[in-house]
């Protein structure tokens, strides 16, 4: 057996250093704030887990968390099937491909805040085309939280379904023709082709799509901030913005961060489990 050479750790050092400055040190700063009370003249007082207990005891926090979960759930349930459906119907060759890809990519290029402003104006009941059209049905996102909610879901779907569709499309075009030919030889129905060929082949990219859409929608801030400017519905992010106390903000940030981490891990584990067989590590291609 070869002697263990500990000098290999030096090879990891640059990355460690980089990660320390980009992630670990800032995060530790937040951890530090979360256990301190910052008084007048920026004096720090140790308060232990006070802020955490306060956040977890706050009804507003739980309401916001619940709203976030429901929002992400709705977003995933709409955007994933819709994105797959769009991808299935996109052309595979000819001039339609570039046209489709460019049109689909357009919403993705627009900054979050601009999207928020677009919909804020688009949905206004006095001058917005969308708002005026729905005015007679009692639509008004400024007064009615349900309407605001509806507007946010619609806006997010408009903004991000393309991402799911493009990822799913990438998964679909990577399927060799032979699979479809074999399915025809085997007499498979359209549904079976989807169920046994297209869906399994898209699984990898759909995992990425679900993770990205979950994280993004769970962290939603800019759009509700732009559209309803602190009104209902209140999400974790907007709640965080309205919190005044630095220590409480820090505690809430950490809880928020841990929830996202946990949920992402759960999604990833559930979606990549390989029916009890040993999975090949790193085969994410």
């Amino acid at each position: 057996m070869k002697p263990v050479n500990q000098r290999a750790w030096f090879l990891v050092a640059p990355v460690l250093l980089l990660v320390a400055f980009t992630a670990i040190i800032p995060l530790m700063t937040v951890v530090n704030y979360s256990v301190q009370y910052v008084g007048m003249n920026t004096q720090f007082h140790w308060v232990g887990d006070l802020w955490f207990r306060e956040v977890l005891a706050s009804e507003k926090f739980w309401n916001a968390l619940w709203r976030n979960l429901v929002f992400s759930g709705i977003i995933l349930m709409i955007q994933i099937p819709l994105g797959v459906l769009i991808a299935l119907n996109m052309p595979r060759k000819g001039w339609g491909v570039p046209v489709c890809l460019v049109v689909m990519a357009l919403p993705l290029l627009i900054p979050w805040y601009v999207v928020g402003m677009i919909w804020q104006m688009f949905g206004r009941v006095d001058i917005g085309l969308f708002g005026v059209m729905l005015r007679d049905f009692g639509y008004n996102y400024e007064n009615d939280p349900i309407d605001a909610w509806f507007t946010l879901v619609l806006m997010d779907t408009w903004h991000w379904t393309s991402l799911v569709a493009l990822l799913a499309y990438a998964g679909l075009v990577s399927i060799p023709d032979a699979y479809y030919q074999a399915a025809r030889i085997d007499g498979a129905s359209r549904w079976q082709v989807f169920r046994h060929i297209q869906l399994p082949k898209m699984a990898r990219v759909l995992t990425i799509a679900v993770l990205l859409r979950f994280m993004d929608s769970f962290m939603i801030f800019t759009e509700p901030f732009a559209v309803i400017a602190g009104g209902d519905p209140v999400f974790l992010s907007t709640e965080l913005k309205q919190t005044v106390e630095l220590g409480q903000k820090a505690a809430m940030s950490l809880i928020y961060f841990l929830i996202i981490l946990l949920m992402s891990w759960v999604f990833y584990t559930v979606m990549t489990r390989d029916d009890g067989e040993p999975r090949q590590r790193g085969g994410a291609s």
Binding site: D186, A188, R195, Q280
Partner: protein
């Protein structure tokens, strides 16, 4: 089990083919007899796969008809034709087990489950996957997956024909022999018409009773392995089959004999060779003799292929390969002569009968 006729089948992938060059299949007329084991042999891009896909209906031909047992199926979609096909690269349904993969084509055709179980077990045995039957297909290796594909091709008991498109490309050589032997065995038992596409002559010659040699979108010769070796109808067949391939060199006719650079090499051709056509002489290395008399030649190198050696020479400016028998020495001042039994004359690449060989030529027709 069926006879398959191809009637003037042509196919072009482009929209408006003008010349012959635009056709992937120029014109194919051929009958695959019921219960035959055929190999379609040819280099990449010669139209083998196109032809196979036309038979199975994955591609519909630009012109011509496909008949199964005399019935025109040209307009029928793949799933309505009773044909199985195995592709070059493994196609498995990842979400199913090996057993479910094999049962899939039967299930889609509403076969009774007792019969499915029996058939699947048989096929598992044939392709050697019994031990893996209840494993998910996803985690298997490439050659195990290809065995599943092969199995799905063999599992339907009532198919008109089974088409194989270079099915053993991803399988390792040891396994290749074994699987090919299994396929032969399946063929012997089921008498299904089998068409096996390959670019490997060994594979073609060991699998098939009849080899169909294709070149540039056309069938150039159909015959048993022995016929293809002894009487290549086209210079391509001579070159493609045999190792090394046939020597082909341009000749001139002077009425009495065929000449290469002033040396008479063979009796004159029969009169049907038009004066304007490009004339070539073909002789397999097995029929080239090195001795002290004949046409002078220079040795370039001698290749040792294990059981035999091949001498590469130049003779009157043309490269010639000669097979050396065991223990045979290369003469110091080599002269080349051709055994008349193995000399063929080609006009515009197609074989013409040489006087004295007319009878032999007829056999190959």
């Amino acid at each position: 089990m069926a006879r398959i006729d191809l009637d003037n089948v042509r196919h072009a992938y482009g929209p408006s083919p003008q010349s012959d060059e635009d056709y992937a299949l120029r014109r194919v007329n051929h009958t695959f007899d019921d219960g035959g084991a055929y190999a379609l042999l040819g280099p990449s891009g010669c139209g083998k796969t196109s032809l196979l896909n036309i038979i199975s209906g994955l591609v519909s031909p630009s012109e011509g008809r496909v008949l199964v047992n005399g019935e025109d199926v040209t307009g029928l979609p793949t799933e309505k034709r009773n044909i199985a096909q195995v592709f070059q690269f493994p196609v498995v349904y990842d979400s199913m087990t090996v057993r479910e993969n094999l049962a899939f084509p039967l299930r889609n055709r509403r076969v009774k489950s007792a019969e499915i179980r029996e058939r699947v077990n048989q096929v598992l045995e044939i392709v050697g996957l019994t031990a893996l039957a209840d494993r998910r297909a996803r985690g298997l290796t490439a050659d195990e997956k290809q065995k599943i594909s092969l199995g799905r091709g063999l599992v339907r008991p009532d198919v008109s024909a089974i088409l194989f498109d270079e099915p053993l490309t991803v399988v390792d050589p040891q396994m290749k022999w074994q699987l090919r032997a299994s396929l032969r065995e399946v063929h012997r038992r089921s008498r299904a018409t089998m068409i096996y596409v390959t670019h490997d002559q060994t594979e073609a010659l060991t699998f098939a009773d009849k080899v169909v040699v294709m070149h540039a979108g056309e069938i150039v010769q159909v015959g048993t392995p022995a016929e293809l070796f002894a009487q290549p109808k086209h210079t391509f067949v001579g070159y493609f089959i045999g190792s090394p391939g046939m020597n082909v060199m341009p000749v001139t006719l002077d009425g009495v004999s065929a000449r290469i650079g002033g040396h008479a090499v063979a009796p004159a051709a029969a009169p049907q060779a038009a004066a304007t056509s490009k004339l070539e002489l073909g002789v397999r290395p097995e029929f080239v003799k090195l001795s002290a008399s004949g046409i002078p030649a220079q040795i370039i190198r001698v290749e040792d292929a294990g059981r035999y050696r091949v001498a590469h020479l130049t003779m009157a400016g043309h490269p010639v390969a000669a097979m050396l028998r065991e223990g045979e020495d290369v003469p110091a001042d080599p002269h080349v002569s051709f055994d008349p039994a193995g000399v063929h004359l080609y006009a515009d690449s197609w074989r013409v009968d040489v006087a004295g060989q007319a009878a032999a030529g007829k056999v190959a027709q």
